[in-house]
Symmetry: C2
Subunit: 475 residues, 2 copies
């Protein structure tokens, strides 16, 4: 046993030696760095005595234990912009009960390319979480990645003990983050570009606004009514009746600001078309969103489009003084939802034309398959209709089965009120009430809380919500 | 053991008795007939002595051995029209090495609903075979199904020993074939309608013509050139260079008649659009097709659309005197191909409006999912292009990877000639040559042939091809 250990130490030392000499020679070539797991491929490198093929296999198997001296490299705080198709995943964020998340694949790629040492030390923030089935065209994360910039730069932290020689010979170009990651990520997740950012910059807290899109076919919906209704979402409102309350996670305040909300055709319509196959989108831009907020808002719009509710229902739903409890209704399904954009201040997005072409090509192939399959189906549907088939007016974008007799929202049973939910968690010790200075009540983390460490007062106080850092802000 | 057998006999007898009394009372209600497997649910029926729940389970498990007296029922020769999405299946026809075929699902449904006793005795013919991944909107089969028409009718065979009373009380309406089958078929296979047909009518031999559609996006293709090219397929030609020759199965003659061939937009274009996302179709109608013929024809059209070949190449390819051997090229991929229609003479298709609505609703839901997914992708592609991404001109509808340097078809290596293939099978005894009456050669089934039992002369003789009944006529 001690023989094997001694052997291992020798291997590690030899590898360190090799890398240090590479750096000294100014050859911070990433190809060589990445292939350090197979020293014999590099003619400059002679394996340590007794370095058999077995020990090389051992090194390969041990994965993260492969010798790589992160401390000898600069690190740099960057923003990465991702696009992914959420249909095959259980959501963006890593979860306890499944490995099938976008983040899990992302971190596998970051570790495999040795751009980070481990997640915990990577200073990782994400702009938002998308739920199972939800896609993103602009999900932004910030993270510290390995860098070649010994000479420093925006967000670069150069290791303290670096040779003056190396500094002066530092490579002009940064590690090709986008290309490296896209080579190892699965087909349906890709990095679009990256941006250097200042050390304190956070994808989560520095995000200025987020835009979602929800796509749907016209079918037999009254899209003009829906467009009228959508506008009513704009402004600052209490959206507790248009989300899934997440009180247990410390979400206690439901005012959010919607900068714009519109229903419009995907392609500008040349004539006033009434084709049921025309595609529309609900596009909504806001500062921050509550859990399932967009899907709840969409569900109400679909009811309005089917003329089962009037556009005014939205005004009622945001009037929490008169409607403090959410009527029971199902939210819209997940697959048509896309986190389309996360807006930041002036970020200098570094785009590699070759990479974009590569991503574009991949997406186009995906699109071709989907569009053709949709057309095969559309051809069948249209021919059946010609033969006298009557189109169903059922909207299949809402979860659950269609009720025979429609029950207006305001006449339905309601969900628990916010106060009731708070009481529930206070009883369990997850939240605690205290008297605040001005006589109002303050709710904060209880002794038995899982995550919370920020308090929030209730029920007024518009303005920037103070939230637990772990709550799910997005859909 | 003999106790169990005796028990079984008692159960069978009791069941026969029950059904006979039902018939006598004129209650040929299919619901009751179908629920005869659970006699206790029918209050008229008392299980035989000792009929325990175990024996009922045994009866259920034994599947086809459930007692049902087919001989006591009329049978009727019918045509069934099917639609199916071929993407999840290994083709239409039953295969030795897989259960995952459309036909396998169809026969499971026919047996489960007890519309047939078994495949072998069902007098089954199919209009054509579609390959793995290929869909159909109008696949027609003919088959003998159980009937209620004791009074006779088109294609009805009434059992000889039927009671005069029953005949006079025979039910007015036929077994609801379409509804019954659709309830047990999987989501992506459905019966559209049925038609009574004369006893000798065959889906295969009485089919007058077949129409295929191949859908594709415009991309960067020159669709006008393709439209010009497609017309050149019309007429009667030797298509050996535009199919996969199936000599081993007795396909020895490659002349086929194409009634019409066109490339056109799926939706009539209001203005002269050049949108790369516009969908087009190659629609082709012919008497009969060779194996993979449409996909080979499409592959050549795609080369023409990419301006890699001129439309005249088609004239060269059907000129087998000057081009007796097929150049090597890959056929187009499978998923965009649909057997759109099988044309018969005057058939009286029986359509159930409720059923059509049901099928339509199901297809619309499918379409909604596909179309929205396509739109999510299209939204991403369009935004990337706006940001300067360059669209790939690679056509992903052809199998295999794109070659860097295009090699014109007529300069490529060729496949084996027809004569060479015949020699190959003659050597193996699967085909035999003989001298025909007029001095020409006659090729027919050899001693070691698997299927063939019809001969064909070579190489001339245009007109109706004599083919082995088992050859794959369609794509």
């Amino acid at each position: 046993m001690s023989d094997a250990l001694t052997q291992r130490i020798k291997e590690l030392e030899a590898e360190l030696e090799r890398l240090r000499s590479l750096l000294k020679e100014g050859r911070a070539d990433d190809t060589e760095v990445m292939s350090s797991s197979s020293p014999q491929e590099n003619s400059d490198c002679k394996p340590a005595d007794g370095d058999t093929s077995t020990s090389r296999k051992e090194r390969k198997k041990s994965g993260k234990q492969r010798p790589f001296d992160f401390a000898a490299h600069p690190r740099r705080h960057v923003a990465l912009r991702l696009a992914y198709l959420g249909w095959a995943y259980q959501g963006f964020a890593v979860q306890d009960n499944t490995d099938n998340t976008v983040e899990a694949r992302l971190f596998e790629a970051l570790l495999k390319t040795r751009l980070i040492q481990d997640r915990q030390s990577s200073n990782y923030h994400r702009c938002g979480r998308t739920d199972k089935g939800v896609s993103a065209f602009s999900q932004v994360i910030t993270i510290d990645l390995r860098s070649t910039q010994f000479g420093g730069g925006l967000g670069v932290i150069v290791p303290a003990n670096v040779d003056v020689d190396i500094k002066s010979k530092s490579s002009a170009s940064e590690v090709p983050y986008v290309k490296m990651l896209n080579r190892v990520l699965p087909q349906d997740i890709c990095i679009l570009d990256w941006a250097p950012v200042a050390e304190g910059f956070s994808a989560r807290f520095d995000c200025q606004s987020r835009t979602y899109r929800y796509y749907f076919p016209r079918g037999s919906l009254d899209v003009e009514l829906m467009a009228d209704a959508a506008k009513r979402y704009e402004g600052t409102h209490d959206f507790r009746n248009l989300c899934k309350m997440d009180v247990g996670n410390g979400v206690l305040q439901f005012e959010r600001t919607i900068l714009s909300a519109a229903v419009k055709p995907v392609h500008p319509q040349p004539t006033s078309s009434t084709d049921q196959y025309d595609l529309y989108m609900f596009e909504i831009k806001g500062l921050a969103f509550l859990y399932h907020q967009v899907r709840c808002m969409m569900a109400v719009l679909l009811l309005i489009g089917q003329k089962l509710e009037a556009p005014e229902i939205i005004n009622h739903l945001v009037d929490v003084a008169n409607n403090p409890r959410k009527p029971q209704y199902s939210m819209a399904v997940d697959y048509p939802l896309v986190l389309h954009d996360c807006h930041f201040g002036d970020l200098s997005w570094q785009r590699d034309a070759e990479e974009v072409k590569h991503v574009l090509s991949s997406l186009q192939q995906h699109w071709t398959q989907s569009a053709i399959r949709a057309q095969v189906l559309q051809g069948m549907v249209q021919d059946l209709e010609k033969k006298g088939g009557v189109s169903s007016s059922h909207c299949c974008l809402v979860e659950g089965t269609k009720q025979r007799n429609y029950r207006p929202l305001l006449e339905r049973p309601c969900c628990e009120s916010l106060e009731s939910r708070i009481n529930h968690f206070v009883k369990r010790g997850r939240l605690e009430r205290e008297e605040g200075e001005n006589g109002g009540e303050v709710i904060h983390r209880g002794k038995k809380s899982k995550h919370c460490h920020i308090s929030s007062s209730l029920p007024e106080a518009p303005g920037t919500p103070k939230q637990c850092t772990d709550h799910k802000v997005n859909d």
